[in-house]
């Protein structure tokens, strides 16, 4: 449970500077908080409310609308298996079943060791690569049962450095250099 760290507070302030109205930075800040803590804590939402100038309930109302935000701890790896139509047609449901059996948890649950949370996902825009899944929103395409087990083994073994822990934003952030900034006008 934490407010923004000093470094993240600076990032949050940069986000604020990108928008004509502070509240527009709410969702990016929620991502930042989730990157910091792995999920969206009440303290962080309170801090965001202060920064964007609205009530805690308004931040909460916005955040709970969006599926990527978690309000209690989830696994280091959130495994989301798509079962929407394109994946369904080529084994998405079976893959989710296999994942559930293999991890020993139902969709929505987290393994006892805190490593994996399993989720059923809607279309991930990888329909030609079905069945697909994401680990912390990083794609795995045309996944077989064996492929899934290998993926889990690799994650357990720490062999997938390309997949950061849950909540982590992109490795590259937009950063507008002060001398190149056109200047956002408040409205």
């Amino acid at each position: 449970m934490a407010r923004f760290s000093p470094a993240n507070l600076e990032r949050a302030k940069e986000l604020l500077s990108h928008y004509p109205r502070p509240k527009s930075a709410t969702i990016p800040m929620c991502h930042l908080a989730q990157e910091q803590d792995g999920y969206l804590t009440e303290d962080a939402m309170g801090h965001i409310a202060e920064l964007v100038g609205c009530s805690n309930a308004e931040v909460y109302g916005t955040a709970t609308f969006y599926e990527m935000f978690k309000f209690h701890p989830v696994g280091t790896y959130v495994v989301g298996v798509c079962t929407n139509i394109a994946c369904l047609l080529v084994g998405g449901e079976e893959l989710l079943d296999h994942a559930s059996d293999s991890l020993g948890i139902r969709p929505g649950a987290t393994t006892a060791d805190g490593l994996f949370t399993l989720e059923e996902m809607e279309c991930l825009a990888a329909c030609t690569e079905a069945p697909c899944l994401q680990v912390n929103y990083r794609y795995e395409n045309k996944v077989t049962d064996e492929g899934f087990d290998r993926l889990v083994a690799d994650l357990r073994a720490g062999k997938r450095n390309d997949i950061p822990r849950h909540g982590t934003l992109g490795a590259v952030r937009q950063s507008i250099p002060a001398d190149r900034r056109a200047g956002v006008k408040a409205i």
């Binding site: 990108h18 004509p20 109205r21 509240k23 527009s24 930075a25 709410t26 969702i27 990016p28 991502h31 964007v52 109302g61 916005t62 609308f65 969006y66 599926e67 990527m68 989301g80 079962t83 929407n84 139509i85 394109a86 369904l88 047609l89 080529v90 084994g91 998405g92 449901e93 079976e94 893959l95 809607e122 279309c123 825009a125 990888a126 329909c127 030609t128 690569e129 079905a130 929103y137 990083r138 794609y139 795995e140 395409n141 045309k142 996944v143 077989t144 064996e146 934003l169 490795a171 590259v172 937009q174 507008i176 250099p177 190149r180 900034r181 056109a182 200047g183 956002v184 006008k185 409205i187």
Partner: protein, 446 residues
Amino acid sequence: MPAPTKMISTRWDQADGHTLDGYLRTGGYEALRKALAMAPEAVVDEVKAANLAGRGGAGFPCGTKWGFLPKDVFPRYLVVNGDESEPGTYKDRILLERDPHQLIEGVLIASWAIKAEQAFIYIRGEMPHAHERMAAALNEAYAAGYIGKNICGTDWSIDVVLHWGAGAYIVGEETALIESLEGNRGMPRLKPPFFPASKGLYMQPTVVNNVETLANLPWIITNGAAAFTSFGNEKNTGTRLFAVSGHVKNPGVFEVEFGTTTFRELFYDFCGGIRDDRRVKAFIPGGGSAPWFFEEDLDTPLDAGVVGGKGSMLGSGAIVVMDETTDMVKAAWRIVKFFAKESCGKCSPCREGTNWMEKIYRRILDGEGRPEDVNLLLDVADNISPGLTWPPRQTTICPLGPSAAAGALVSSIRRFPAEYEHYIVHGRPVDGLSTGVYRPSLTSAS
């Protein structure tokens, strides 16, 4: 056999196509310089002349959309809709990941044309790779003077901000996207009065354009509207990206001339035919919302007007093919389930109706269907979308609920009533029909 026509997918196979170097080496940002030498009104005219239809789903002409901005009302904003989530749709993500500068250039051309104060690129949250590529490209473009203060040495300045979504299909609807960009729950606004062109972001005039739409602008400015309209047919100009998935041998995303290629050519020539050489039973011509087409529709051209005339839509270029072994009830259920889950909850008919329909489906699939359930499904659907026609009429603010009602549900019930009846009588699908268990071998992420 028709070949792909590459207009906006030229750098997909170029290893450094996503970098500024790679982009500049292949003519990048020349269109921007050209546009900046033109009056904004001239750019608008060029885009109008190109008759560029929106690529997000509704197909509204881009230039006309720009023309709705009220004169002399400022500030005004450009918002890029990169919240690609329509089931079956896979094109904007590739454009974002493999050619981000092309989109940025399109954004700048559009911003210049409409005299935008600021531009926002809203990218779906579950696409961190696209986000990283776009962030890197924006940083490069800022550093190189293509965005920000005094663009390309002119006295024009504009900030382009990358914005992340966080997982909500409805945000793809333009007014919901605006709500989301304002930091709110992504619930659509009623049009009228909240047409983005007049009351959009922060209640200011706003243009919301799809990624693919804007990606076309550099080509149009570089080559001219006349060259653009030489591709496609009279009403469907240029090219379009189509993602073909489902039961085809080689699923893929293809850029083809708009309006001329047929579904049959896509499935058989581009995708190598149907798996195990089976027959096509049904296919979705334009995303999960769209009413289904069937075998007899294979020779329909990928022409928005023709597809619309046959009671469906090309939508977002998402084509999902179902072969003769597919369980139609279950396939329709999965689409209804999607809409039930993604309803924003604002309008009672959609919030309650889509979930009710999903529950009825689940009972049928679980072997607990009742003879009256099919009519009940149709009547509940009718209360969300009166008349169950296409394009759907709606008792709701946006078309999400009506899509659930008048799309897959109606298509499958009207075409395959016996499959529903079989479920209801026997508690299981017709023998031999299913929806899955086809597992291609694992390939690594692209």
